[in-house]
């Protein structure tokens, strides 16, 4: 039985690996291949002949046939062990550095990648067009609250001004009506008198006191709501690792280092060995990277400072949100690609979670798990099926 499950798990992993572009895959092999390549291969291989960590991919189809490539990609160690001459040579040539195995890649994936390599070598490399939709969404998201605040403040200011103006008019009128017999005052004096009068006026004083009380209450309530919220927390890390450089400029896929993000609860902090995948050849001399070497030598892991701290009582599973929910990392983490030092973008309060669960549609498309639910939902409601409708606000979905 467990075998069965694992087989299913396996097929799931295959789907997962090609997950992001599985929909587009129908349009063209190369497009699917591009995603696959960029997510899985580009860290070590270039599409042209240049060497990054591993050999360049240009002309790979001429060098090896598809069957061999598949065997190699799925399990390079086995190929080397089998004594395949080419493989052994390759292994020796590249410092006995063995390629990561991608057991989940089937023939279709390999073909797609090969198609992409071919395309990339025949045409000038297409310019990367990073889609910043997520970031925009993020801005909009928080913007709603800010916008409201601004409107509120502007309105208050206007109201205050109107009040002053009205009082001034009132004062003037009073003065006009009682002007007889009173000496003329310079406008400045009049204003002074007005202000004095304003200050002395009981109603105005009371109003001011009330206004102050209301504002103070609002401020302290806002303050209380911020207790325990660490939005913007950007601690200094033991190694000045730049996400902007790696995820932004180099466009390394998040999941390359955070290996668990599509698979499990934790996205995972990469172990030093993952850094070494590239940095045993790249920028070895950098003092920051030397720290990794030192850590490995001392056999002591690097103690990163955790940025996103959910309390232990809340169970958060990355794969539920990434693989199943189809959310981008940026949805919660913000525009990591632009952050030199990572900071906490979202409030990470329960209200924030709940709010998203109320607003977000279930990613039910093409997922048989939701089919019956979706039908049932559609029969009773015109709205789309939100996470909320599938029990997304229930306590034991996160707390157990």
């Amino acid at each position: 039985m467990i075998n069965n499950i694992s087989k299913k798990l396996l097929s799931f992993i295959i789907v997962l690996s090609s997950f992001q572009l599985s929909v587009i895959a129908q349009d063209g092999d190369a497009a699917a291949g591009e995603t696959l390549f960029k997510n899985n291969c580009a860290q070590c291989h270039a599409t042209d002949a240049s060497v990054i960590v591993g050999p360049g991919m240009a002309g790979i189809e001429d060098r090896r046939d598809a069957a061999w490539i598949k065997k190699w990609v799925n399990n390079p160690a086995a190929v080397i062990a089998s004594g395949d001459k080419y493989a052994v040579e390759l292994y020796e040539k590249f410092n006995k550095t063995q390629m990561t195995a991608f057991p989940a890649f089937g023939e279709a994936e390999i073909k797609n990648i090969l198609a992409y390599i071919k395309q990339a070598n025949s045409a000038p490399a297409p310019t990367a067009a990073p889609a910043d939709g997520a970031a925009a969404a993020q801005a909009q998201d928080t913007g709603g609250g800010q916008f409201f605040n601004i409107v509120l403040v502007v309105l208050l200011v206007i109201m205050g001004m109107v009040l002053v103006a009205l009082l001034a008019v009132l004062n003037l009128l009073t003065k006009l009506s009682t002007a007889d017999g009173e000496e003329y005052k310079s406008p400045m004096d009049a204003l002074k008198a007005n202000l004095k009068g304003l200050a002395a006026d009981k109603t105005i004083r009371t109003a001011a006191v009330w206004l102050f009380i209301i504002l103070a209450t609002k401020a302290s309530l806002d303050g209380m709501f911020k207790i325990g919220v660490h939005q913007g927390y950007a601690p200094e890390q033991p190694i000045k690792f730049s996400h902007k450089l790696h995820a932004g400029d180099m466009q390394i896929n998040c999941a390359y280092c955070h290996t668990g993000v599509y698979k499990g609860k934790q996205s995972g902090i990469p172990s030093s060995s993952i850094c070494m995948n590239c940095h045993n050849t790249i920028k070895k001399e950098s003092p920051e990277i030397q720290k990794i070497y030192a850590a490995i030598e001392k056999n002591q892991p690097i103690e990163w400072v955790r940025v996103h701290n959910l309390p232990d009582l809340a169970y958060f599973n990355h794969s539920q949100h990434t693989t199943v929910g189809g959310l981008d990392c940026a949805n919660c983490h913000g525009d990591i690609q632009k952050m030199e030092v990572v900071e906490q973008r979202s409030t990470l309060t329960m209200g924030w979670c709940i709010d998203c669960h109320r607003k977000t549609d279930v990613n039910s498309k093409g997922n048989a798990y939701y089919d019956a639910l979706l039908t049932a939902h559609k029969s009773t409601s015109k709205e789309t099926m939100k996470v909320e409708d599938n029990g997304g606000l229930e306590c034991a979905k996160c707390h157990y």
């Binding site: 992993i13 086995a78 934790q266 955790r306 693989t323 199943v324 229930e394």
Partner: protein
């Protein structure tokens, strides 16, 4: 090292079952020296998310450090569990298991369904063994004369001493590992004077002896309880502790399951039990008679004579006539089920076992329900060998002893002799995981490993092999026993290589090592059942039966602590004894009548005196206990088990020197009261179910066959429109369950009360241990409890008066017993939810009653308003509190915690969550694979571990699940909700208990008891 060869069960890499792939993937980059492979040893430092909270500035949040793996093992993904197949094998007790590990630490034991022996069943001791791994009081280094030493030094000195030894003895409990035996043989080759002594704390030596004499085969056969229509047990706790209880429970349950479906199975085996103290097996029997331990043989001989009379074959034995309740009936049924009966005795007296063999062969059961084709290896100990060893030791003949994990000073009757003899030996080595009573007396302790840290194999039965693989590298500076022996024998210490080559040579026979390692088992069972010819001397056997006088003491092994090997395991200590419900200590159990005769009452302590030995222990007045007997459990009263385990009273010393010693009983016992007013650490103090049919519904088979609803109590509510079913009346509209409706069905017929589910739940859900004093205050935290009810002599109708109620509170002298696992019923109209002021407990759309610990303010209103009383309050902060010095209070013990389940703080309520973490994980898997969950994919901890399959869990909305099908069959049959009239609509259904008894009025039964008593006198 060894670690890289481990075979684990996991999603991705399981792929084509290609272990090499995984192995090599770790060598992704050739960083020499970095991947020495000992990463798991350092898991304490390198948890995926080891969190060190450091408080910084006062108003700032503490900085939390994330410590990644330095070199992440490919097969460990933080947050995703790995499963390894291995085998539990402690003192001959065997179970094939899967070990769930998280971030490299084993956290849970589950049954291996691939095993043909235990068939996915696991018992309480096996579940708890994972906690023994993290026992902080284990030996941390090898020791010499009580002081820490190094392996090099120890090996040097031991090897040197061995070289000059003249007479070496290796003492162990039963070893069911063929490879370990080969290691011992190798050792003996090097040191020819070495002799291997095997003994068992609860020995089957008499059985093996008797089989040798009767059948010429010194073996234990397989008992096919599933094929027996009539089962007779004589002081034989085969569902609890005898030989292979997990296996027997599962087989026994096969014969006890019935179905209300049209054409469903409506036959049951009939189970007779004659025993001294009430055991789990007796409690589950249809007919249970009581005997004194000295009567075991006599009653069997009488049974033999009755059978001879009925069958008209064989010749009657000359034995004093002894009739006990149900014996006549038993003989009739056995004779009627000729060839499909099974008589078993737990006696360790070869004469008694010979009579049993005689009966079975007279009935033609040998070769039908008793299989000599497949023999079992669980008990190989020889009492004679042990006795000889003890006397040799005393006389100084033996100069070197190696104790291989055994602790005979504590757990054998010869303990005192051995302790004395040990002073005379030149070299004594204890190969032990913990410092035991025996190893304390040894010169050297070669610290050995827990089975979860070891390689090994097991051969529980003919044709069944299984492997043991480490799930964690050694936590302390320990070395597994076989490696130690190999080292001293001058061979390479690498036991894995040894094991592999032994398997290649002897066991694998061409099949794949990897597959065996992956599956955990390699099975080529003998297909046919074969018998043997009986040649025993019955007359001699009868003649040599031992007689007792006065009050007789019976020492028994209980389900929780067993023989005391895992005595320092707080989970086991806090698991209530299935019968007495006492935790943390053993008690003197005596019958109601004997208590009255001796002027004893509940809450007393008594002095039990046998010869010169006298011990004081608390008293339990046990319904169903034979009169003039006292039963005390072994396994307690250890002196060097540890902080938790040194509790209770040691009893084997009562037996040393007694003639009947090997059979664990002794006569002429004196009992006197010493003090009173003691509150036992008992989890259940009330004995009967007060005739409340809404709680327990039961009937007898003959009625059930006629009407599947027999014995059902269906409450009706009177309304202006006449009587209505409770569920048809509601003020509210209710809420639909659209997605899933998780529920359970619990079969009272096959629940044996073994408490496996209880420990499994405790392990899965981080349930704290509260200790003896708190249990005595009725504050145990178990999420699932097993209610044990005795029948009462009071007829139900008399209940509506003061006297009637008082009468119903008293259990019968020899009551019928029913076990009812009770946990949160996940009521759809939950009374607890309504009353929580802060919405800490609400209902999910999947039928779960959700308990949100972090919202709870602790008013306890929900617990009060729960009709099932299943909610538990955290009276104290059970972790990091010195008053509760158990596993939650030391860093090592905390390693067993399930990271998916919150550790509850003080002041909050907790309760069964129906393993919501498993449900969520299962749903997530299904969602990621874009499909609906498959039945059986999601299991709760309790349902998963039940050896008899009494608990069925699943989605009641999906018509294809086992639970839906079962409910469809039983909804007009045995299925009922406890306290249905409250209209709380639980998600948990119970199937009524069916006893395979004849219709008999209670009063007649009482009369019969009286009759037989008179007869006996």
């Amino acid at each position: 090292m060894e670690n890289t060869n481990k075979k684990y069960w996991k999603g991705v890499e399981e792929l084509k079952n290609d272990i090499e792939l995984v192995k090599n993937s770790e060598r992704e980059f050739n960083l020499e020296g970095l991947e020495s492979g000992t990463y798991r040893r350092d898991f304490l430092k390198m948890l995926g998310f080891g969190v060190a909270a450091v408080s910084l500035a006062a108003c700032d949040a503490p900085v939390r450090k994330s410590i990644p793996y330095l070199n992440k093992p490919e097969d460990v993904e933080p947050g995703i569990p790995n499963y390894y197949a291995t085998s539990y094998n402690v003192g001959g007790n065997y179970s094939s298991v899967l070990v769930k590990t998280r971030e490299g630490r084993p956290i849970k034991i589950e049954g291996n369904k691939l095993s043909g022996v235990t068939r996915g069943g696991v018992n309480a001791q096996v579940h708890a063994s994972v906690l023994s791994l993290y026992d902080s009081e284990k030996l941390k280094d090898p020791k010499k004369e009580g002081k820490k030493t190094t392996w090099e030094e120890l090996d040097k000195e031991v090897s040197a001493a061995l070289a000059s030894s003249q007479n070496i003895r290796i003492v162990s409990n039963t070893i069911i590992s063929p490879t370990t035996k080969a290691v011992i043989a190798d050792f003996a080759k090097k040191y020819p004077s070495a002799k291997h002594i095997t003994y068992d704390a609860n020995s089957a030596s008499g059985l093996i002896e008797a089989n040798a004499a009767s059948f010429g085969k010194a073996v234990i056969p397989s008992y096919l309880f599933n094929k027996a229509n009539v089962i007779v047990g004589v002081n034989c706790d085969f569902l609890g502790t005898w030989i292979s209880p997990i296996e027997y429970s599962s087989l026994w349950a096969e014969g006890r399951k019935v179905s209300s479906a049209k054409g469903g199975k409506k036959t049951m085996s009939r189970h007779y039990q004659f025993e001294t103290g009430m055991t789990v097996t007796g409690a589950n029997a249809d007919y249970r008679g009581t005997i004194k331990p000295s009567q075991e043989g006599i009653i069997l001989a009488n049974l033999y004579n009755k059978l001879v009379a009925i069958l008209g074959s064989g010749s009657a034995l000359s034995v004093a006539k002894l009739d006990t309740q149900y014996l006549d009936k038993c003989a009739k049924d056995l004779a009627a089920a000729k060839g499909a009966g099974l008589v078993v005795s737990g006696s360790n007296d070869a004469s008694v076992q010979t009579i049993v063999n005689g009966i079975n062969s007279l009935l033609g059961n040998i070769g039908t329900t008793i299989d000599f084709g497949t023999t079992v290896n669980y008990r190989q100990g020889s009492d004679a060998q042990l006795a000889q060893f003890a006397s040799e030791l005393k006389s100084g003949v033996v100069d070197t002893v190696i104790f291989l994990g055994a602790n005979p000073v504590y757990d054998s009757i010869k303990g005192a002799d051995i302790a004395e003899g040990l002073k005379k030996v030149k070299l004594s080595v204890s190969v032990s995981e913990t410092e035991t009573e025996t190893s304390k007396l040894c010169k050297y302790i070669a610290t050995s490993t827990h089975y979860l840290e070891s390689w090994g194999d097991a051969n529980p039965k003919t044709g069944y092999y299984s492997l043991i693989q480490p799930c964690i590298s050694n936590i302390f500076n320990s070395r597994q026993a076989e490696s130690s022996l190999l080292t001293w024998a001058g061979q390479p210490a690498d036991y894995l290589t040894y094991l592999k080559s032994f398997w290649n040579a002897n066991i694998l026979g061409g099949s794949s090592w990897t597959k065996a390692l992956h599956d955990g088992v390699l099975e080529s069972p003998v297909a046919s059942v074969s018998g043997a010819t009986f040649n025993g001397n019955l007359a001699a056997a009868v003649a040599s039966l031992k007689t007792g006088k006065g009050i007789e003491l019976s020492v028994f092994e209980n389900v929780t602590i067993g023989t005391g090997i895992q005595a320092n395991n707080p989970w086991l200590l806090e698991t209530p004894d299935p019968i007495t419900k006492v935790t943390w200590e053993n008690t003197a159990n005596i019958s109601q009548k004997t208590a009255a005769d001796l002027g004893l009452s509940a809450g007393d302590w008594v002095n039990v005196t046998v010869g010169k030995v006298s011990k004081e222990l608390p008293l339990v007045i046990q319904p169903g206990q034979a009169n003039e007997t006292v039963s005390i459990a072994m396994g307690f009263g250890r002196t060097s088990a540890g902080k938790a385990g040194n509790t209770g009273t040691e009893v084997l010393s009562f037996l040393s020197g007694a003639t009947s010693a090997s059979n664990l009983w002794v006569g002429d016992v004196k009992i006197e009261k010493t003090k009173s007013g003691y509150t036992l650490p008992q989890t259940q103090t009330h004995e009967t179910y007060m005739g409340r049919e809404a709680v327990i519904q039961e009937t007898i088979l003959s009625k059930y066959v006629k009407d599947p609803k027999a014995g059902r109590f269906e409450p009706k509510i009177g309304t202006s429109d006449g009587l209505k079913k409770p569920y048809s009346i509601s003020l509210w509209n209710g809420h639909d369950k659209k997605n899933h409706s998780w529920g359970m069905v619990i079969d009272l017929n096959t629940c044996t009360g073994c408490a496996s589910c209880l420990v499994s739940c405790q392990a899965e859900n981080n349930v704290p241990v509260v200790g003896k004093a708190e249990v005595a205050r009725a504050r145990e935290m178990h999420w699932i409890r097993i209610d044990r009810y005795y029948s009462s002599d009071a007829p139900h109708e008399r209940g509506y008066s003061i006297g009637g109620f008082k009468e119903m509170e008293k259990a019968s002298e020899n009551p019928e017993v029913v076990f009812q696992p009770m946990m949160c019923q996940h009521c759809s109209n939950a009374p607890c939810e309504t009353v929580c002021p802060v919405l800490a407990t609400t209902h999910s759309s999947e039928g779960l009653n959700q308990m949100t610990y972090n919202r709870c303010v602790g008013t306890r209103y929900c617990a009060n308003n729960c009709p099932y009383k299943v909610r538990r309050f955290n009276w104290f902060k059970y972790f990091e509190n010195d008053n509760f010095d158990y596993n939650l209070n030391n860093d090592l013990g905390k390693m067993v915690l399930n990271p998916d389940v919150t550790v509850r703080s003080r002041g909050v309520i907790e309760k069964c969550s129906m393993c919501v973490q498993r449900i969520q994980a299962g749903k997530l898997t299904a969602k990621s694979e874009k499909r609906r969950p498959v039945d059986g994919e999601i299991e709760t901890a309790c349902s998963q571990s039940c050896p008899t399959g009494a608990i069925v869990f699943g989605d009641m909305l999906d018509p294809n699940t086992k639970i839906s099908k079962l409910l469809a069959q039983e909804s007009e049959g045995r299925a009922y909700h406890v306290l249905e009239e409250l209209n709380v609509i639980p998600q948990i259904s119970y199937l009524s208990k069916i006893r395979n008894k004849d219709e008999q009025r209670n009063s007649e039964a009482v009369a019969e008891v009286k009759h037989t008593e008179e007869h006996a006198h």
